[in-house]
Amino acid sequence: MNREQFIATFREHLPAVSKFLVRRVARDEVDDLASEIFEIAWRKRDDFTEGSELAWLYRIGGFVIANHRRKEAKRGLWLPLLDVDATAPSAESLGLANVSVAEAWSKLKPSDRNILALSAFDGLSVTQLATTLEISANTASARLGRARKKFAEYLNSDLSD
């Protein structure tokens, strides 16, 4: 993929990447982190399969955010393996106005919040989730199902209290 093809292919994904980031980081950090995401995407452009670009961008985005948060927390770069699930948007970053919804969301495990956010807010299909999270489609579907179920249980439990 040459430079022109790269720009043509990824141009349409700029808004989605911006929305993905703004749900997870401060608004004034979106530009810088978006730059990092696309720099990595350029370097790894031969790894993309046609049609999977957005899922890959979200995958890269997860790690960029995780690394960004690590630096922010001044924990250093001890581990190369960062908890991408911890980059899932919080109730605060989503601006959840409903208290019950916010509480139910906060009760979810990070991995459940991550996959649910990618599905509900970033609109990823099961196939795209599999690419983004680097798991099989079956595993993605199972995890998404569990996350949806958990969230509904927490929400309905909270509403009935």
């Binding site: 720009i7 730059s35 990092e36 696309f38 790690f63 250093g76 919804v101 649910l116 680097e134």
Partner: protein, 438 residues
């Protein structure tokens, strides 16, 4: 009320409750700037190639143990190539060596991130010991042939089918060498042998050991509308052996296949839908850093097993540097070793994510305080790819429970290789010569 309907309603409530994402408009110049970035080979890529060059095979390292970080050590701690040469006699405490000064290999801290160069400065905490010590170096030597070992494993694990031999050309510091792998595949069962490094190892896996519940809901995707995927499976109750049963089975298989071990040496890790056990290869009463391991899937069947048909033979008694001085070696990747399974039982690292790549900021310097050091035996490889167990320290940073293992043998005993040069873009293609051996 219908469960699916409730979930759909809950997700709809979630979406409606969130404020609209007022995302800034990204300028297309981001893409133009990104595409001007120059690609650099990553340090991880260079170290991976180094492992291949020494004939080290990852086949014996089972990354199939979901949720368990134990095997991560071997994969996450790339091995330096070195020429291990000892003096004609190496009495206790002697550091006589025929080696010259190690080349200056300072490249900063080990960065697993591609492209960017990060300098990490490791600093020894006050509580680390300044005491020197002593230890022993062991070489792992095969104690049987691949043919005999594979026959024993077939019997023990009741595997049918024939073995296929595959031979590949691998570039090593000594030139092009042929590396042979033995592979047996029988349905979902796969047994993979590696006879490189002078350490015969096997990796067994059985895909039938795991089952997913019956699909209760399917969906299609926009990309492939004619393909359906299951989005919800019925839960499966795991049928795992008890601790007593697992230890008995592990003991029977490990001992039966050549590992000298006892029930006390077998460690179990139990998860909701899997069970894992490992036992170290010991010598002189202590772990060499290599282990056998076995895992059970949710059906209760063995899902994987890995082992080595080796004896640890002492080759030298050596002096060791202090924990404090070992920390100084952390800025030179060539001193890294693989840690033993015991180190990673509770570490918060998931091996399946090791391929992740994150881009830090170029030129960053990170200072990391090392607060804990424990003596251990680390696994390293010489220039011929032979595997050794050497005195090392497992080093822990502040607030971390994941150890990095560094060799603590005094200077002059182990000759470090020249720093790795950039690898060539094209990797060697395997010859793919096959023969069937039954």
């Amino acid at each position: 009320m219908n469960e699916k309907f409730e979930q759909d309603q809950a997700i709809e409530t979630l979406r409606n409750s969130a404020k609209p994402a007022r995302a800034p408009k990204l300028d297309e110049s981001i893409l133009e700037s990104a595409s001007l970035t120059t690609a650099k080979p990553s340090l991880m890529s260079r170290l991976n190639l180094s492992r291949r060059a020494t004939g080290f095979s990852l086949a014996g390292v089972a990354a199939s143990l979901a949720g368990v970080a134990v095997i991560a050590g071997s994969v996450l701690n790339p091995q330096p190539t070195f020429t291990l040469e000892l003096g004609a006699s190496a009495p206790q405490g002697s550091n006589k060596s025929l080696m010259g000064e190690a080349a200056d290999s300072k490249i900063g801290g080990l960065s697993y991130w591609p492209g960017a160069s990060i300098e990490i400065d490791y600093v020894a905490g006050e509580d680390l010991s300044a005491d020197t010590g002593s230890g022993s170096i062991y070489e792992f030597v095969n104690n049987t042939t691949a043919k005999e070992f594979s026959a024993a494993i077939k019997r023990a694990l009741k595997i049918s089918g024939g073995f296929v031999t595959e031979t590949y050309d691998v570039e090593t510091p000594n030139g092009t060498e042929k590396v042979t792998y033995f592979n047996l595949q029988s349905g979902a069962v796969n047994v993979y042998f590696s006879d490189t490094n002078g350490a015969l190892s096997f990796n067994y896996s059985n895909g039938n050991a795991w089952v997913m519940g019956e699909c209760v809901k399917e969906e299609t995707s926009a990309e492939m509308p004619d393909v359906t995927y299951c989005v919800e499976n019925a839960p499966v109750k795991a049928d795992l052996p008890t601790d007593k049963e697992a230890i008995e089975q592990a003991l029977e298989l490990f001992s039966g296949l050549g590992l000298e071990t006892t029930p006390d040496d077998i460690t179990l890790n139990r998860f909701e839908d899997s069970l894992y056990a490992f036992a170290p290869i010991k010598v002189d009463g202590k772990s060499t850093g290599l282990s056998w391991d076995i895992a059970w899937g949710n059906t209760g069947k063995i899902s994987s097993m890995n082992g080595y048909a080796v004896d640890a033979v002492k080759v030298a008694d050596v002096s060791t540097i202090s924990a404090k001085d070992t920390v100084k070696r952390m800025n030179d990747y060539r001193w890294m070793a693989s840690g033993s399974a015991e180190l990673y039982q509770t570490a918060s690292v998931i091996s399946s994510r090791m391929s992740a790549e994150v881009m830090p900021t170029e030129g960053d310097i990170q200072e990391i305080l090392v607060v804990k050091a424990t003596e251990t035996q680390g696994i390293i490889y010489d220039a011929n790819g032979k595997m050794f167990s050497v005195p090392s320290y497992a080093l822990y940073a502040e607030n971390e429970d994941y150890a990095l293992v560094y060799v603590s043998v005094v200077d002059g005993v182990i000759k470090l290789p020249e720093p790795i040069v950039w690898p060539q873009d094209d990797m060697l293609e395997p010859l793919g010569k096959t023969e069937v051996n039954k």
